[in-house]
C-alpha cells in the first residue's frame, strides 16, 4: 500500500530526510539508530556526525575578503 511507504525527501541542498525511526548500517558494519520523527542523513559527505547531517553542507564565507571557502 502506497500509504505505508516511508517518506524520504532528497533536499538537493544538503541532507536526505527520512521520516520515522531508522537503523543505519555503516560501511564497517556498525549500526546507528535514530528515533527521531525525521532523521537528516548526510548526503554531502562533510558531516563530522555521519551518518547524520550537522549542517556542514552550508555555504561558508569570509566577510573580510568577501570570497567563499570550502569547509
Amino acid at each position: 500500500m502506497a500509504e505505508a511507504r516511508r517518506r524520504v525527501i532528497v533536499t538537493g541542498e544538503g541532507p536526505i530526510l527520512v521520516y520515522g525511526p531508522v537503523d543505519v548500517e555503516m560501511p564497517d558494519g556498525t549500526r546507528v539508530h535514530s528515533d527521531r520523527v525525521v532523521t537528516a542523513l548526510c548526503a554531502c559527505g562533510r558531516s563530522r556526525h555521519r551518518p547524520f547531517c550537522d549542517t556542514s553542507h552550508r555555504r561558508r564565507v569570509r566577510d573580510d575578503e568577501g570570497k567563499e571557502h570550502g569547509p
Binding site: 527521531r36 525525521v38 537528516a40 556526525h49 550537522d54 561558508r60 564565507v61
Partner: protein, 333 residues
C-alpha cells in the same frame, strides 16, 4: 490548598519605578502606577517588569496568586510596556518582506564572525561558560514553551510541522530527553543551580529582552508571523553555534554528560531547520502571504537582540568582569 506550582520561583528585586509597581500589583496591592512612557525600551526596569508579567503565563511566582494572570491591572500595564518595546524594535529593525533571502542569509556560515560561542570555543574560560549557561537558563529551562503558544494560531501543514519539532523539543515522549531537562543536567554538571528562575536577578536587560520577544510574539495572535520568524532564527542558527559550544566545553575539560545538551542540538537542529523551512514557513506563506513582513521582522528582531546580548557579555568579559547583574561572580562555583 495552594494552586501555585511547587517549583515556582520567588519574585525578583525591582530595578526601577516601573518594575517596583508591577511587582506590587503582582503581590495584590493596588499602587499608583507610574508613567511608563518615559522608560527606556531596552532598559533594566522595563524589561524586568515585562518579564514578570509574562512569567504569569508560564510557572508564575510563589507569592503571586495564579488569578493575577488575567487581572486587567496587570494586562493594562503589560500592554503599555509591550507597546514601547515593540515600537522600539520596529524603529531599530529595517522592514522587509523577502523571507527567502532572509533565510538564505541565515544559512551562510560566516567564517570570521565573532560572537559569544566563537569566543568560548577559542579562548573562553570556564567561569564565562558558566555565566553564559546561567543567562541562557532563563529560556532553556522553559525551552520551546514560548513557541508552543503559537500552535492554536496555525492551521494544517504548518501546525503539523511545528508540532513535530516541539515534540522533539519535549523529549518525544521521554521526559528525561526533553531539551529543558538536558539543559538542567548540563547546569548540574557545571555546578549551577537548576531551580527555575534562579538566575533572574543576575540576568541583565539584554538577556531578558530576548526571552521577552519570544513571549510577546507567542502570546499575540497578531504577531504569529513574527513568532515563526523568531522560531526559524533559533532553529537555523543553533546547529553551528551548538557545535562551537561542544568544542568549547571539550577544550575546557567538561564531562560528556555536560556536553550532551549542545551535542544533541547539533543533530536535532539540522533536522529542525529543514522542518521549519519546508514544513512550517513555505506552506504558511503560501496560505497567508501577507505574513511575510512579520516573519522578516521576527528574524531581524531576534538577530538584533541576540547581537546586543553578545556585545554585552563580550564587553564585560574583555574587561575580565562578570556579566552577572547582582555582582555574583561566575568565577566562583
Amino acid at each position: 490548598m495552594t494552586r501555585t506550582m511547587s517549583e515556582a520561583p520567588t519574585l525578583p528585586a525591582p530595578r526601577g519605578p516601573v518594575s517596583e509597581a508591577v511587582l506590587s500589583v503582582l503581590r495584590g496591592d493596588r499602587p499608583a502606577l507610574p508613567a511608563v512612557d518615559g522608560s527606556a525600551p531596552y532598559g533594566e526596569d522595563l524589561q524586568l517588569a515585562l518579564y514578570c508579567c509574562y512569567e504569569l503565563h508560564y510557572r508564575g511566582f510563589r507569592e503571586v496568586d495564579p488569578d493575577r494572570e488575567w487581572d486587567p491591572a496587570v494586562l493594562r500595564i503589560r500592554a503599555e510596556l509591550e507597546g514601547l518595546f515593540l515600537s522600539a524594535l520596529r524603529d531599530d529593525v529595517p522592514a522587509g518582506a523577502d523571507v527567502g533571502s532572509e533565510l538564505d542569509a541565515l544559512l551562510v556560515e560566516h567564517v570570521d564572525a565573532f560572537g559569544v560561542s566563537h569566543h568560548l570555543r577559542r579562548h573562553g574560560q570556564l567561569w564565562q561558560l558558566r555565566e553564559y549557561v546561567a543567562h541562557r537558563s532563563l529560556y532553556h529551562l522553559k525551552e520551546a514553551d514560548p513557541q508552543t503558544f503559537v500552535i492554536p494560531r496555525l492551521n494544517g501543514p504548518p501546525k503539523a510541522a511545528l508540532v513535530t519539532v516541539q515534540h522533539d523539543e519535549y523529549g518525544a515522549g521521554a521526559p528525561e530527553r526533553a531539551h529543558s531537562k538536558l539543559f538542567a543536567d548540563m547546569m548540574t554538571e557545571l555546578g549551577l543551580c537548576t531551580d527555575y528562575g534562579a538566575y533572574l536577578d543576575s540576568a541583565p536587560a539584554e538577556i531578558l529582552a530576548e526571552v521577552n520577544l519570544m513571549s510577546l510574539c507567542g502570546l499575540h495572535r497578531g504577531l504569529r508571523g513574527a513568532l515563526i520568524g523568531q522560531f526559524a532564527t533559533i532553529e537555523l542558527t543553533s546547529s553551528p553555534g551548538s557545535d562551537r559550544l561542544v568544542k568549547a566545553m571539550r577544550r575546557l575539560g567538561c564531562s560528556p554528560a555536560a556536553l550532551r545538551f549542545y551535542a544533541e542540538h547539533v543533530e536535532a537542529d539540522a533536522v529542525h531547520e529543514q522542518l521549519v523551512r519546508r514544513g512550517v514557513i513555505a506552506p504558511l506563506l503560501s496560505a497567508e502571504p501577507e505574513l511575510a513582513p512579520d516573519v522578516v521582522f521576527g528574524i531581524r528582531a531576534s538577530m538584533f537582540l541576540a547581537a546586543r546580548s553578545d556585545d554585552l557579555l563580550l564587553r564585560h568579559w574583555n574587561r575580565g568582569e562578570s556579566s552577572f547583574r547582582d555582582g555574583v561572580d561566575g568565577r566562583k562555583p
